[in-house]
Point group: C2
Chain length 207, copies 2
DNA sequence: GACACCGTACCTACTAGTCGGTATGTTGGC
DNA sequence: GCCAACATACCGACTAGTAGGTACGGTGTC
């Protein structure tokens, strides 16, 4: 799937990613996506049977694009797992710039909107979030071993917590129209991770 | 405003709060709200000129209802400001039960969906979030003084961070259809607050 | 000429908002 | 006490416009 010959299909998906993040899923018309992709409805319904099918494909593409971005990031080469984790947060901070629709998360935005009405889209978006969250778990587990931090919380829960902070930071940024608030929240997340792994008190937690 | 004689108006607002949280703002029809309130469109457009005007009034009501809830909570009587802050998180955890649409946040959900398309609704929701966040600032400031914690972060940013975690926890809960994940994230938030105010390392931060 | 691809025109279901109408008070003059 | 006049609250059928989806025709490529 996603062969080389599907240039228009890719254009439609990328257009959908941008327009839906700006306008929301329900409020974006398929014509909005078509005009953003400089195509027409004929092309749209040639590639996708329904609007919902496009959303599912867009969620899949979102996971692929973001997955490739973080997998190829330079910080992945750091030897210390905690350093990798902190560098991940730094990268997320660095990505917060420009327009809201450009740096916010398609999966989080969409799943929040349609979680009740479109279960298939919700599951597709949820899967990308969980998958992305899962990429952090190896580093968290390694950092736990290396820094001798106890197990009053699980690896999975901390990975998901980082995603919650990021998603929540986006919500706040939209509510206040101020990306700086999102960055400040990621600073708090970073401070939490440092305290969690480096403070003596946390290391005594070996229950 | 919100006199005793506006029973139907209040019913419509409460119905909107529930239906919009479940279905999203754009996807909910005014008829959905009417039938949930056991009223008709005639009544609806008697009380509100447009659907957007209802959303603005609903945001205001959301702020009033939640504001009253937390202002009247027993934990407000605790003498230690840090204890009040931690008890706030505990209360937020305790409120996470039942259906998603019952415990998630109208303001956060709606602002995320319409932030670009309906600036007035976004601002109304954003105002309730900021206002609620502001109610935490006095306790945070008092805890900073009492526990001698340094100022590498601002009172406002920590208050907003708690809201970001809460909003993000809701997003994750919707994405995964698992409220337990939201609770686990609030556990991490609580742990952060404890580390921030109680760990020796954090207290050395007096810059 | 078969097929993938894409454009234009059109169909149809749906929905925000309108409009005439009814019912229920409420005020004030006598 | 009564009634005219008016305001408020509500109902439900209707309208105008919108948006998802379809039909079909054209074009390039193999």
């Amino acid at each position: 799937m996603t062969d080389a010959g599907h240039e228009s299909r890719r254009k439609l998906l990328d257009a959908a990613l941008n327009v839906v993040r700006a306008r929301g899923y329900t409020a974006t018309r398929v014509e909005d996506i078509c005009s953003a992709a400089r195509l027409t409805k004929g092309s749209f319904f040639h590639h996708f049977k329904t609007k919902e099918e496009l959303a599912l494909a867009a969620a899949e593409r979102w996971g692929a694009v973001t997955g490739a971005l973080f997998a190829a990031a330079p910080y992945r080469q750091l030897s210390d797992p905690l350093e990798r984790l902190l560098a991940y947060v730094d990268l997320r901070k660095a990505l917060i710039r420009g327009e809201l629709a450009e740096f916010t998360c398609f999966a989080g935005t969409t799943t929040q909107e349609v979680h009740q009405t479109h279960p298939a889209i919700r599951d597709a978006c949820g899967a990308t979030i969980r998958q992305h969250s899962g990429t952090l778990e190896a580093d968290i587990a390694a950092a736990m071993r290396q820094y001798g931090v106890g197990a009053s919380w699980t690896v999975e829960s901390l990975a998901l917590h980082t995603q919650a902070v990021i998603q929540g930071a986006f919500v706040l940024a939209k509510a206040t129209q101020d990306p700086a608030i999102a960055i400040a929240s990621l600073d708090h997340l970073r401070r939490y991770l440092e305290l969690l792994f480096r403070s003596p008190q946390a290391q005594e937690e070996r229950t």
